[in-house]
C-alpha cells in the first residue's frame, strides 16, 4: 500500500432534497466543503438558483494524507445570520481507493447526507479520481489476464463485507 500523500480530484456534481431545519427546503446559496483532515479542505462556489436541488459541477483537488480513513463532504448554505450546515456525509476511503480499481479510475458516487441531529437530509452526488500513484494491480496482472484468455481472475476476493472505514487491505491470489 502506498504510504505517500495522494491528491484527490473530487467533482461535486449536484445535491438533491436539501432542507434547512428539517422542514424548509433550501432556497439558495448552498455550497459544499470537502475535507480529508483539518488542514486539507476545499469548497465550491455557492449555487444561487438551484434551491434544494443545487447543481455545482465543480472540480476540487484536495490532498489525502496517508492513512486517511474518510473524505468528509459537508453541504452548507448561506443564510442571513451566517452559514448553516445542511448535511454531512463521511465517505470511507475504501470506497474509492485500493482494491482492484485501476489508477485514475473515475468513481461516480452518491451518499446520504445527515444533518447535525443525525436525521437524513438529502443526497450528494459526486465523482472522485485518485491522481497519480501506482495501484496494487499493475501491468503484470493484465498480461497474465491476456495469457489465460477469457479468465482474467480466479481467486479470493478483496473488497467484501461491511466497510468499517479502513483502507482496503488484500491482494488477489492468482491461480493461473
Amino acid at each position: 500500500m502506498a504510504t505517500t500523500s495522494r491528491a484527490l480530484e473530487v467533482t461535486i456534481i449536484s445535491g438533491e432534497g436539501l432542507r434547512v431545519d428539517r422542514r424548509r427546503p433550501v432556497k439558495k446559496n448552498a455550497f459544499v466543503v470537502v475535507r480529508t483532515n483539518s488542514q486539507n479542505s476545499r469548497s465550491t462556489k455557492a449555487d444561487f438558483d438551484g434551491g434544494s436541488f443545487p447543481v455545482w459541477n465543480e472540480k476540487l483537488v484536495v490532498d489525502m494524507p496517508a492513512h486517511t480513513r474518510f473524505l468528509t463532504v459537508e453541504v452548507r448554505c448561506k443564510v442571513n445570520s451566517g452559514v448553516k450546515v445542511v448535511g454531512t456525509a463521511k465517505i470511507p476511503a475504501s470506497d474509492f481507493v485500493g482494491g482492484y480499481f485501476p489508477p485514475n479510475y473515475l468513481h461516480f458516487l452518491s451518499y446520504r447526507l445527515r444533518d447535525s441531529g443525525g436525521e437524513r437530509n438529502g443526497i450528494i452526488n459526486l465523482s472522485v479520481r485518485v491522481k497519480g500513484t501506482e495501484n496494487v494491480i499493475g501491468a503484470a496482472t493484465c498480461a497474465a489476464a491476456a495469457a489465460s484468455s477469457s479468465r482474467p481472475w480466479v481467486g479470493g476476493s478483496t473488497v467484501v463485507g461491511k466497510v468499517s472505514g479502513g483502507i482496503v487491505t488484500g491482494v488477489p491470489v492468482w491461480m493461473a
Binding site: T11, I13, S14, E16, G50, G51, S52, F53, V55, N57, A89, K90, I91, P92, D95, G99, Y100, F101, P102, Y105, L106, H107, F108, L109, S110, Y111, R112, R114, I123, N125, L126, S127, N135, I137, T141, C142, A143, A145, A146, S149, S150, R151, P152, W153, V154, S157, T158, V159, V160, K162, V163, P172, M175
Partner: protein, 605 residues
Amino acid sequence: MGACCSDVRGGQQAVGGGAQQRSQATSNAAAAAGGGGGGTGPNDAVDFFYRTKGVQALFTQIELSLSASKLLDRDIISKSDPMAVIYAKKRDGSLEELGRTEVIMNCLDPVWIEKINVAYQFEIVQPLIFHVYDVDTSYHKLPAKMLKLKDQEFLGEASCVLSEIVTKQNRSLTLKLHNKKGQVGLRNLGTITVHAEETIASRNAVEIAFRCSHLDNKDLFSKSDPFLRISRIVESGGSVPICKTEVVNNNLNPIWKPLTLTMQQFGSKDNPLILECFDFNSSGNHVLIGKIQKSIVDLEKLHKEKIGANFVLPSSRHHTHEKVLKGQLFVDHFSERKLYSFLDYISSGFELNFMVAVDFTASNGNPHSRDSLHYIDPTGRLNAYQQAIMEVGEVIQFYDSDRRFPAWGFGGRTYEGSVSHCFNLNGSAGSFEVEGVEGIMAAYASALRSVTLAGPTLFGQVINTAADIAGHSISCTNSKYFVLLIITDGVLTDLEETKNALVRASDLPLSVLIVGVGGADFKQMEILDADNGERLESSTGRIATRDIVQFVPMREVHGGQISIVQALLEELPGQFLTYMRTRDIKPQTATTPASAPPQDHPYVV
C-alpha cells in the same frame, strides 16, 4: 383540493432539450455528470435479436404528442397544472403506464412538449387510455416520473385504439374527456388531442446555446421574463413543440443554458423550425414577444457568421403583414454530437459477459416431489428452472461472444456439508465456468443430484462475486460489460445485504437481471428494481450510482403478456449506455485500437 400557489419554479424549467430518454430513473450522479443517459428510443437490442433470426419487426415506432383544451379548473386562485399519462390496456384489463408528459403550469389548454413512444404493431389491437391530472405537489426539479398519481387531482379520461390515430389522414385524433365511470357527465371536462408521428432512430444530436438582444418589454413594472419555445412543422401543416428553454427573469438580453436536440426531435437539418420567444407569466398567459422560422442549417449559419436574426411579430390586423422587431436571436454555441447506440458499441467489439446464478433454497420444494420447481421430469418435460435457463439462454448466447458462462448456485448444502451462498454449479472446486447453455443445463442437473436444498435466500454473496469479476476487468479493459442473471423462486431473506451488495456494484460495468420463477409474491424485487425512482441505499449511507437491476417474472412471460426477449433486454441497453456515456467511453472504431490486449477470438455479430 387544488394548491393555492402553483409551483412557479417548476413552470419555469426547461423541457425537452436534455436529449434524455424518459425511461431513465431519477437523475443520479452518473447521469448528471454525463448529461445524457437512458436508451436511444426503440429497444435496438431487441430489434437486432429478432432481425438476425429473420423475423422482421412487425411494428413501427410511433411518437405521440398530446394537447388538451378546455380542461376543468381545479385550483382555487390559479388554474390547473395539467399533466397527461398514457396507459396501454392489457388483455386482462389492467393498465400499464407507457409514459407521461411534463407538467405545464396554470394552463387549461396545454400543449405538452414531452413525447411518448409507443410501438405500433400492425396485427394486434392496442387500446390506449389517456388520463389527465392536475398536479398538486411542488414539482420543481422533481422528475415527472416520481409524481405519485394517486396524490394528484384527476381531471379526465379518454380512450381509443392506436390504429384509430395512425390511420387518420392528419394522424390526429381529438377525444372528449369523461370521468372514470365513462360518462361525459354534467360538467364539460374538455377534450384531449393525440398526434402520432413515426420516430426516426438517429444518433445525431445538436447542442445549441441561444441568446437574445433588445427584446421588447412586455411587463409593466419590470422587464420581460423571456423563454424560447421551439416547434417543428408537421406534414399536416400544424406545429408540434419539441422543447423549451428555462425562463430568465427580468432580462431583455437573456442568455439561456445550452439545449441538446436529437434528430428525432427536429426531423432533418433542413426542416423548418419555429422559434418563439415568450414573456413568462405565472398566470399561465405567456405573451408572445416575437418569432423566427429557421432550420438547423440556418442556425448553424447564424453561429458561423456570428450575426443575429430579427424576430417578427405577426400583426393581428394585417394578416399578411409581419412587423419586424428590433429584438434579435444569436446562436452562441453550435456543435454536433453523436449519441452512440447500444448496437454501435456491440458491433464495434464491446462484449457482454453473462453469468448465471440458480436458487437452491428449500422453498422450491423437494426435488423428488412433482410439485417442486426443481423436479426433473423423467418424461423430459422441462421444469420452471430449466425453462427459464433455456429461454433466457437463447438471448444471452446471442450477445455473449465466447459462450463461457460463470455459473453458480446459492442457498444449497454442498457435499462439504455446509450451506453455501455461492458455489460453483459445475461442482468443480477451482473453475466456475461452463460452456454454452447446454453446459448450464448439465451443471444444473448434476448439482441437483449432489446438493441438498437449504436456505435462506441470499443474493449478497453472488452479487459480490460478480462485482469482483467486473471490477477486476476494468483494470485491463473498458470494453467489457457484465450481466448477472439470478434465477430464483422468490422471497429474499436479507434485503439489506442484497441492497448493500447492489449499491457497491452500482458504479461497475455490471447489470443484474433477476428472473422470478414460480408463483411467489415478488413485491420485494420491485423495490430492488428501482423503477419508481427511489434509489437504493446501503446501510453505510452510500446510495446507488445508477439502477443496475431489472426484474422479470416468468409468470408474465408465460402468460403471454411480454416476450422473454423484451423483458430481459428492456433495461439493459439503457444501463449499459449510462455507464459508457458518463465515462465518455466511445465505441471502438477501426482506427482506435482497443485498450485491452488483442482478443483471441473473433467477434461474431
